[in-house]
Symmetry: C2
Subunit: 438 residues, 2 copies
Amino acid sequence: MLYWTMGARHTAARTTGGTPPVANVVVVGGGFAGIAVGRGLANSEVRVTIVDQHNFHTFLPLLYQVATAGLDPADVAYPIRTIFGGAPNIGFRHGRVREVNHAANTVVLDDATELNYDHLVIATGATAAFFGIPGASLYAMPLYSLADARRLRNKLLLALEDADARAEQESVALTFVVVGGGPTGVETAGALAELISIALRRDGLRLDRRRVRVVLVDLADRLLTAFPPSASGYAARELRARGVEVQLARSVVEVEERAIRFADGERLETAAVIWAAGVTASGTLAQGLSVAAGPSGRARVGLQLRCEGRDNVWAVGDAAAIPSNSSAFCPQLAPVAIQSGRHCAEQILHAVRGEPLTPFSYHNKGIMATIGRRAAVAKLPQGGVIRGTLGWLAWLGLHLFYLVGFRNRLRVLINWTWRYFDWPSGPRLIVADAETAD
Amino acid sequence: MLYWTMGARHTAARTTGGTPPVANVVVVGGGFAGIAVGRGLANSEVRVTIVDQHNFHTFLPLLYQVATAGLDPADVAYPIRTIFGGAPNIGFRHGRVREVNHAANTVVLDDATELNYDHLVIATGATAAFFGIPGASLYAMPLYSLADARRLRNKLLLALEDADARAEQESVALTFVVVGGGPTGVETAGALAELISIALRRDGLRLDRRRVRVVLVDLADRLLTAFPPSASGYAARELRARGVEVQLARSVVEVEERAIRFADGERLETAAVIWAAGVTASGTLAQGLSVAAGPSGRARVGLQLRCEGRDNVWAVGDAAAIPSNSSAFCPQLAPVAIQSGRHCAEQILHAVRGEPLTPFSYHNKGIMATIGRRAAVAKLPQGGVIRGTLGWLAWLGLHLFYLVGFRNRLRVLINWTWRYFDWPSGPRLIVADAETAD
């Protein structure tokens, strides 16, 4: 069964007058966690409004492929209204939350309208953490929204075009730096190396492949620290075989517009710095939403996922610091977001129905990272590692499975098939450029 | 045979030293005309550089479907480098032309680099003509680039979201006005009416369909004046059946930010004014390129497609005022662009080889416009008209046939199939919004 698709279409009319008052649930954020809350409450007795600044849900795990021109933006996005088209009790509101008035139980949007809630769910996700490194927030490019991915794609493709134009006169060197050796950094570096190979081979750019560098740096002495060391070694070897320079135990001290500085004094000129170094909870969560903040600005919740000191305010996914029995808090991963969202929906129904709440417990399903064609690693819940072609096929299958909408799955499959067989084209379009000044 | 795809891949090395000097051809513009020139010169003895401000070719006839969320931007765009990936003598240069130095035979790009040419081809296309109507260039939205289409799509979808949000409190009316009853206006109005129906039915917007108006206005007393009157009547009936208000013999005197004014004094409040009223040659053609300008700013050319008074400067497609035997000048249509581009390539080879030039003559293949599902009209070269399902199927087939790249054809087919059967989703994404300020 596919997780995100809705069940049979319900055409029941909206609940109106004559019936007991309906509880209003406002969910802020339409990512994995927010959608899971909506899914859990679909066709129930509560009325749900999902608020998001975008009218679509973004499949973040494949964003790096949009950035490296392997997928189109529309392949990884799905309109939120359409996800819940079959559920008459789920509404969508396009907008940003300006503040929460806990005393009045209202959310104020940026167009000054107010939404009343009986239960509020904070599912605002995470954004890049820059750890106060000078210049990082200004010049490094994170990958946490479709707009980020489009911007990065344009920057990468424009850098290649610009280098090609300069190659008319001179020998050109071009360096891209990826900061962060976790799954996002490893995946982005691998895909970027692949994009460069394709662009040079198929598009006839006048660049010397050996002078176009992709450098992956991390503070730790191995990649993928959440995986066993054997997986780290495998990932480093596979990346190097694809032309990525892996530099470990290197500390970034400053990012400039066209360069990056390391603690050992080296200054490397770069065409782009891609930031995959870590996440923090989105925006000014603690201030704007007036809930207690924990590590990385995440909302502190109890085991029932309620924010500390609040009866009817819940937090889920990356935005929440969820207690865990194996470590201090649950990791900021898609499975945690989906599971906590689903659990939160159940708790809200318990609360509305006057039933006792139950504690959340994260069911670890393992983690994965892909390096490139036929190369991926997966860490199983029992600790075992799958790698190589088998890991890659598992990675492909799972990502297709979790993508929202059959149409998106079909299109992603087509794009992947194209890239795998190295057929011409693929979405190497510089769409936002001087023309629109975006 | 598919027109745009290249033949077998040639892997011959670039022509360098030792051989007689190679003629340089610079083609400004990668639209239908520019690509046809490149295609005609591929694998010949000249060296070609296509210059475009975008790294992709845009299939303009389907732009209105991107604007009305029927297709994705990437469906109608194809990287120019990839089109010519198999031809070693065709290069691409990403940039804009700042000026032409005819005395030195150089083109100056906006990054100040100069390209030498032996032959220069102006294939800069057309943009919207606003006829000096106050406010039109400021507030009306044309449809001549992928960026235009994305902007319009965002505006349309945001207007629907905004109306839905206001519908919480009040009864909301929403009007969209399409100016121009030619093929672009008819197609856009029909597709917009379809988008609204789908959005209301599938996305559960709280709007009254009868209060969401699509108004198509034209100065003439019938639609599609290039077609016989029977086609005009058919188009008007089909549009009205789809909920479009067709208002003829109406003259627009001003466009405001949220309204449009007519000569009869009426002022209509609008969420968007879509401008499909006509075209003029792109940019400051006559000034920047220093060639004689004819009607609508088009470059005046002789029957050999050479610019007046120039031996080695040619103009093709929408940017050229090409003499015609049936009327004063050839119409600004895709087939004229393709045929004139192909002819120009032949003439350049004649000139390089010292052979006599031959005059261009436009081979009329008819014109088409689609109104919606199973409703289109085609005017055959002999003057006959095909309409209804047959016309629609012909329209679908031809557009798929002329789209560049098999991958794009496959994706467009998927998107069309989705929309035809009214399956959920489709690319109704508001991608560029407040987040990127674009």
